[in-house]
Each structure stands twice: as structure tokens, then as C-alpha cells.
């Protein structure tokens, strides 16, 4: 396999602003198959915006996004075609409260990917079972705990068999007890070779699962490297300051 075909996603010189507030400034990011890229940085550093831009949920002001070797930031590209192959999980779960867990998970496979009801349900039940949610398939999301809901959201994203998974601070709304059950799943996915970009505040988790860590500060990607290097020997002063604040002494 050539190196080129290994690149799942490449963003170059991304820029995004809201009015005169620049939230992403010249950000470049390259994600290869099997990569687990963790985005770290304080709130408002642009992690979530970056993920939203990658999923084409936000229109970028400048730069290029390539997915599967094709420029997808082109206005002529249908964003839905791109999102078919990308899974996204949000901080606030964003499950559809009027559909059961199973119906949440089978919606996109049936409506977008054309799976039959039986196939979609089989796939969804398999995944739910694997993540310990089998017994909740027929309940409505609001009856579940936060951790369970977030695991359902993960399953919902996985049911479309995406080539890339974007996780936007998926444990930020969970209490510590429940963080583990969600991160455990993500860890399993990482070990299975799922390509992911993860915005996270969980430093020890990032250190464990990331193949690469990116530190964002004020909309700029200040530092990037393997976790051992970024966490143990950060080059930038800002990274050192940030890590000192978030890591237990």
C-alpha cells in the first residue's frame, strides 16, 4: 500500500472565525488509517470547532480538508456523502429522545446506507451487546444513565461502519464513575485499529490510547507528537503551562 492511500484525512491551513474572533488559525492535521489523534487544550482552544469543521458541520474560512484523497471542503462536494463515512459523537450525547435505543442505532444504516431492517437491527444488537447495552435496546434513551447514553451514542456512530470516528469531549458531561465505562470502549476501539480524532480533557486516557497528541491553544496547533514526547518533554512553554495545570503534580 502506498503512503498516499494510507491517509484517511488531511487538513491543511484551516482557518475559521466567528465575526472577528478567530477560533482556528492555520491548523494542519494529518490522520492516517489506524491513527488515534487526541486533541488537548483548554476550553475554547478550538478543539470542538476543529472536529465540527472536519465533519463539515461548519464552513471553513480558509484551508483545505481532504478525506480519502478527495478535497471535501469544495463547495461542490455534497457534505452528506462525506459524513456517510465519518462517525461523530457529541459531548451531550444528542440521542433522539423519541426513538428507542435500537431505533436510534438503526436510523442511519437504514435511511442513509440502505440496510434492510433485519440487517440494521442485527448489526445494532450485536454492537449493543458487545458494549453491554443489550438489555436496553428497546428502552428510550432518557431512561438510561449518562454513561449508558454515551455508549449508545458511540454504538449509533459505529453502526454505519465509519472510516473515521470523531469524538468531541464525549466524557465531559459524565461523572468520574461513568467516564471509565465510556473510555473503556474507546480504548477497545483504538486497539481494534479504529481511526479516531478525539477531543478530550482526560490526559491519562490521551497518554494511553493516542498515537499522536495535538495541543491547541487559542486556535493554533502549537505542538504535536507522540504522547510520550508531548507529555514527558513538551517543547513549547504554553504546553508545559497547560500540562502543569491539568496533570496532578
Amino acid at each position: 500500500m502506498t503512503r498516499r492511500s494510507n491517509v484517511v484525512l488531511e487538513a491543511r491551513n484551516l482557518r475559521k472565525s466567528y465575526g472577528d474572533r478567530v477560533v482556528l488559525d492555520d491548523v494542519s492535521l494529518r490522520v492516517e488509517a489506524g491513527d488515534v489523534v487526541c486533541l488537548i487544550g483548554s476550553s475554547g482552544s478550538g478543539k470542538s470547532t476543529l472536529l465540527r469543521c472536519l465533519d463539515l458541520l461548519e464552513e471553513i474560512d480558509d484551508g483545505v480538508i481532504e478525506f480519502g484523497g478527495r478535497e471535501v471542503s469544495d463547495p461542490l462536494v455534497d457534505p452528506r456523502e462525506v459524513r456517510r463515512d465519518i462517525g461523530m459523537v457529541f459531548q451531550a450525547y444528542n440521542l433522539f429522545p423519541h426513538r428507542t435505543v435500537l431505533a436510534n442505532c438503526t436510523l442511519a444504516p437504514r435511511a442513509v446506507h440502505g440496510l434492510s431492517k433485519a440487517d440494521a437491527e442485527r448489526r445494532a444488537r450485536d454492537l449493543l451487546m458487545r458494549f453491554g447495552l443489550g438489555e436496553y435496546a428497546d428502552q428510550h434513551p432518557d431512561r438510561l444513565s449518562g454513561g449508558q447514553q454515551q455508549r449508545v451514542a458511540l454504538v449509533r456512530a459505529l453502526c454505519t461502519e465509519p472510516r473515521l470516528l470523531l469524538l468531541d469531549e464525549i466524557t465531559a458531561a459524565l461523572d468520574p464513575e461513568l467516564v471509565g465505562e465510556v473510555l473503556g470502549i474507546v480504548r477497545g476501539l483504538a486497539e481494534a485499529g479504529t481511526t479516531m480524532v478525539i477531543a478530550t480533557h482526560e490526559m491519562s486516557f490521551a497518554r494511553d490510547v493516542a498515537t499522536r497528541v495535538c495541543f491547541l491553544d487559542g486556535g493554533r496547533l502549537l505542538e504535536e507528537g507522540p504522547p510520550e514526547q508531548v507529555f514527558a518533554a513538551p517543547r513549547e512553554q504554553r504546553t508545559r503551562d497547560f500540562l502543569r495545570r491539568v496533570l496532578p503534580a
Binding site: Y18, S42, D62, G63, D74
Partner: protein, 289 residues
């Protein structure tokens, strides 16, 4: 939140970005062209179908006669003023009464239990009665009781009938809005130790009202038209005036004139509501990522 204003606009869009902007402009132009074409075709199609129909000349003479329109106009303007007055008086009363009924139905106070039953009965029964019957009942029935000190004014009782009828509908709209506010909002208001009344007043109702503006507008428009029901109790409103004219001259054009008046009143109101809703949305979601 990190705020970072670009120093002196140091950023220049790249060539690729400029291409993209051109592409977006082209897409927009194409959409505009398609929209224009579709509109022209649709309007022209209807116009042609209408004008080419065999009976069009007769229909035109009966419904769209400029001469009759001009002749009937002054009287209709006078009559329409009565509709507007009725609407302007009835609408605020309906809003207040409707909201009051909705709040009573939502209340949990033991003192209000009898009123709550009454409010439920009121909405159920009133909505079941045709508005026209209510108008008859109020205009002929109440003065017919011969009560002392009660006005016999047709205008007064017709307006009262509309208020009663529409407040029942509007109450249900408000109630739906109130119930659509997420329980977590009530929980957090209660957590701040607000009373139930305060919770309603400061947290629930403001959100509910915003949500129900479109259906409320629906009822407003309907009310505007239903002010014409008073034509059936011989009040010289726009419709009654038009009917009067039509019966004398065997021409329906005045009805079309009346319709134009009602449309002229409704459309600006609809636009105003849209504008209000947009403004609220802009203010509340400003800066949200």
C-alpha cells in the same frame, strides 16, 4: 474562551479559498436562477390556465370588475374599520384570557382546583361550539334575558363571543407551549427555590411564549377573518357591506375587495412575527458554536 482578534487583518484568503468563494457564489446564482425560473413557470402556468379557461370572461366580469370594485370601495373601507376595531379590542383580551386559562390548568394549588375544573370544561365545551353559534347566543341570547344594566350593543356582544371562542383555542396553544418546556428547566428553577408561580412567570412562560408564536399567529389570522362572522348578525362590517352591495348589483367583486383587505392586514402581521422570532433566535444563540 480565548478571544483573538487578528492583528490589522493580517490574514488574506488563499487562492483556493477565493476559488471556493467564487464557486459558492456560482452555486448561489444557480439557486436563484432555478428559484426564479420555477416561480415564473408556476405563476405563468396558473395564469394561463385561468385566462384560457372558457368561462374566464364571465368569471372576470362577476368577480374582478374594476368598476364595481371602485364603487363598493368607500363603504367597504368603513365596514373594514369595524373589523379592525373588533380585532384590536379582542386580540389582547384573548391573549390575556387564554394565558390565564392555560396557567390555571397548569396550577397545582389546592385552592384553584375548582377553577381548574372550570377551565378544563371551558376549553372543552367552547371549542366544541361553532363560533357562529356563539355569536348568535351572545348577540341575541344575552340581551334577550332582559337583564338590567346590561348593554344590548351588537358590537359588544359579538366581540365578547369572539373573545370567548378564541381564548379557548389560544389557551390550548399556550398550554402546549408550557408543556413543551423541558422538565430540567423547572427542576433548575425549583432548585433556586423559586415558587411555582415564580417558576412559571420567570422561566417557563417566557420560553413557552416564544415557542408558540407561530401557532398563535395562526389563530390571530383566523380571528381576523372570523370578525366577518358578525356580518351574520347584521353588523355593517366589511363582509356585510360587500354582501349588501353584491345583492343590489348582482356582482361579487366586493367580496374579492374584502379578501384583499384581509390579506393586506394578515401578511404584514405574519412578516412581523417572523421578524420577531428571528430576532429572538439571533439574540439567544449569538456566539454559540
Amino acid at each position: 474562551m480565548t478571544t483573538k482578534v487578528n492583528p490589522a487583518g493580517g490574514w488574506q484568503p488563499s487562492v483556493r479559498e477565493q476559488e471556493r468563494r467564487a464557486a459558492r457564489r456560482a452555486l448561489r446564482r444557480r439557486r436563484t436562477a432555478i428559484a426564479t425560473l420555477a416561480s415564473v413557470v408556476a405563476i405563468a402556468g396558473v395564469a394561463v390556465a385561468l385566462l384560457a379557461s372558457p368561462g374566464w370572461p364571465r368569471v372576470q366580469a362577476t368577480f374582478f370588475d374594476p368598476e364595481h370594485a371602485r364603487d363598493s370601495l368607500p363603504a367597504i373601507v368603513d365596514g373594514f374599520w369595524l373589523n379592525v376595531k373588533m380585532f384590536l379590542i379582542a386580540e389582547p383580551l384573548i391573549l390575556v384570557l387564554g394565558l390565564a386559562i392555560a396557567l390555571v390548568r397548569q396550577s397545582r394549588s389546592p385552592w384553584l382546583v375548582p377553577v381548574r375544573g372550570l377551565a378544563t370544561g371551558y376549553t372543552d365545551v367552547v371549542r366544541g361550539i361553532p363560533t357562529l353559534l356563539l355569536v348568535f347566543l351572545f348577540v341575541f341570547g344575552i340581551p334577550g334575558l332582559g337583564l338590567q344594566g346590561v348593554t344590548n350593543s351588537i358590537f359588544f356582544w359579538a366581540t365578547a363571543a369572539l373573545v370567548v371562542s378564541y381564548s379557548a383555542y389560544v389557551a390550548e396553544v399556550f398550554r402546549a407551549g408550557i408543556e413543551s418546556v423541558h422538565p430540567s428547566q423547572i427542576a433548575s428553577a425549583e432548585a433556586l427555590a423559586l415558587t411555582r408561580g415564580q417558576t412559571m412567570r420567570f422561566v417557563v412562560v417566557p420560553q413557552a411564549v416564544r415557542r408558540v408564536v407561530p401557532p398563535l399567529l395562526n389563530d390571530f389570522v383566523s380571528l381576523q377573518k372570523d370578525t366577518a362572522l358578525v356580518a351574520s348578525v347584521s353588523l355593517f362590517d366589511a363582509l356585510f357591506t360587500a354582501r349588501d352591495y353584491a345583492n343590489y348589483n348582482f356582482n361579487f367583486t366586493p367580496y374579492v375587495v374584502v379578501a384583499c383587505f384581509f390579506i393586506a392586514l394578515t401578511v404584514p402581521l405574519a412578516r412581523l412575527c417572523d421578524w420577531l422570532a428571528r430576532r429572538i433566535a439571533r439574540r439567544e444563540r449569538a456566539g454559540a458554536l
